[in-house]
Amino acid sequence: MSDMIRYQRCTPCGHVWYFVRSFCPKCGTREPQALEASGDGVVHAVTIVERAPTPDMKALAPYTLVMVDAAEGFRLMAHGTPGLAIDDRVSGSVVELAGHPIPFFKRA
């Protein structure tokens, strides 16, 4: 199973963001557009979690967490393939991990 990463955009002011809201956090306009992202992005930061917080996640550790700058102009936290580094061009989608829909990126 794989799905597109989603984000939001404010029609009047053009602001784009990732955390779902019913209004634009910049100008307050209601009913922002809900859009599907291309999945293209660039790695902004990486950490490898060796010490996981929950029993579910301990089963997956170590795992790679990344901050990705999406081509559409928003930033998100995601899982990624081992070995990703800052400035890598990546491609991502939403996959299921430990029962949750999780954005996942691999090198493009």
């Binding site: 060796e50 010490r51 917080p53 901050m67 829909p101």
Partner: protein
């Protein structure tokens, strides 16, 4: 004008069988004794939160147990910035003439409570976004691991460089009998310690502890101590690292600039005789020192290595050992920084005493470099 008239700090580490309220009571007793005040003198009480006792009225619970019936009391929550935020609020309330003696107190049995370290790691990870972050399995060290990775990339800092701050905090803690970890460590020890969230390793991280700290902020001096809070400031730029405006520039400078503006004098952080800076991780301390103008970007580790921030150096820093080595029990973690500052400024730091601490700059952050609070303390001549 406000005075820090009394301070109290417990040893951090394991206090088996004691709960949050027990620990808070012990620290409060020390602070009242130090200030020479009685319970009836306290007309304001500020507490933080306790992860091991998530009560919705912690301040009132504490007051009832300790035997206080103040005119003003409540809890306050800004994560790691809570301690200095309480100090700021106490200062503002006292300076405004609203209250005479405010007891600021925090404590937590974070290490010995059921679940111990595992429980606290899971609980603290919840500062992440419940939909867009927490399900990914990050931890507090992971959020800071992301920040560290980016900061190191932009400013040419290495893991060995970061380790300098852990070594410094440990060498400070080695001289304090109350510190949780007192055995000296080397750069190699830090590099070889267990990876937690790369690039951060165990010895880059603060230590989970039981403990408590308290102090009294007063309108009038009550004894010999003549230490004032002269100004305070805050800045809040984001909560979640995903929404941070930047992973390398945060709100510390803005917060400190507001504190300096509030004091109405042309001060700079480089005027400090003593520094108390939040050190939840090596990277936290590095970024805060550099953002506060105490070191050029990318240079704080080198300066630490050269002794600039050592007890006998130009800018003594966290001489009790900080969160990394004195220990971290939540809200009281930063209060320990303030207690140590007051001890240094009153010349009561014993074998840790710095040459002359007339002016001190304090800074704390909460969340993931999200909420910032700055304090400036001065000794009355």
């Amino acid at each position: 004008m406000s005075w820090i008239t009394g301070v109290g700090l417990l040893p951090f580490g394991r206090h088996e069988g004691k709960n949050t309220i027990d620990l808070m009571s012990e620290a409060a007793t020390l602070a009242l004794d130090d200030a020479g005040l009685k319970r009836g003198d306290i007309d304001g009480v500020l507490t933080g939160y306790a992860t091991t006792m998530p009560h919705i009225m912690l301040a009132t619970v504490f007051c009832e147990h300790f035997g206080l019936s103040p005119a003003y009391a409540h809890g306050l929550q800004v994560g790691g910035a809570t301690g200095f935020a309480m100090a700021m609020l106490a200062h503002e309330l006292v300076a405004a003439g609203r209250l005479k003696n405010v007891l600021v107190v925090a404590g937590e049995n974070r290490l010995s409570a059921p679940g111990g370290r595992d429980k606290i790691v899971e609980t603290l990870a919840q500062v992440g976004h419940p939909v867009h972050e927490v399900p990914l399995g990050p931890t507090i060290p992971a959020y800071y691991g992301l920040v560290a990775n980016r900061y190191m990339h932009e400013h040419g800092v290495s893991e060995a460089d970061l380790a300098e701050l852990a070594v410094l905090m440990r060498s400070n803690a080695a001289t304090h009998p109350g510190a949780q970890f007192r055995e000296l460590i080397t750069i190699a020890d830090v590099l070889a310690s267990k990876p937690i969230a790369r690039p951060l390793k165990l010895l880059d991280c603060c230590a989970t502890a039981d403990g408590a700290a308290a102090f009294v902020v007063s309108r009038e001096r009550t004894g010999e101590a003549a230490i004032r809070i002269i100004a305070a400031g805050q800045a809040h730029t984001h909560q979640h690292i995903s929404e941070a405006p930047s992973l390398t520039e945060f709100g510390a400078r803005l917060s400190m600039d507001r504190a300096i503006a509030a004091c109405g004098r042309k001060l700079a952080t480089t005027d400090a005789d003593y520094l108390a800076i939040y050190d939840s991780f090596t990277i936290t301390l590095v970024i805060l020192l550099e953002e506060l103008g105490l070191a050029p970007r990318g240079q704080s580790c080198r300066m630490a290595r050269e002794g600039y921030f050592s007890r006998t150096g130009t800018k003594p820093l966290n001489t009790h050992g900080g969160l990394m080595s004195y220990g971290h029990c939540g809200v009281a973690g930063a209060l320990a920084h303030l207690v140590e500052t007051q001890l240094q400024m009153t010349g009561r730091a014993g074998n840790r005493q710095v040459a002359d601490a007339g002016l001190a700059f304090l800074h704390g952050d909460g969340g993931v470099m999200s909420s910032h609070v700055s304090l400036i303390m001065e000794r009355q001549a």
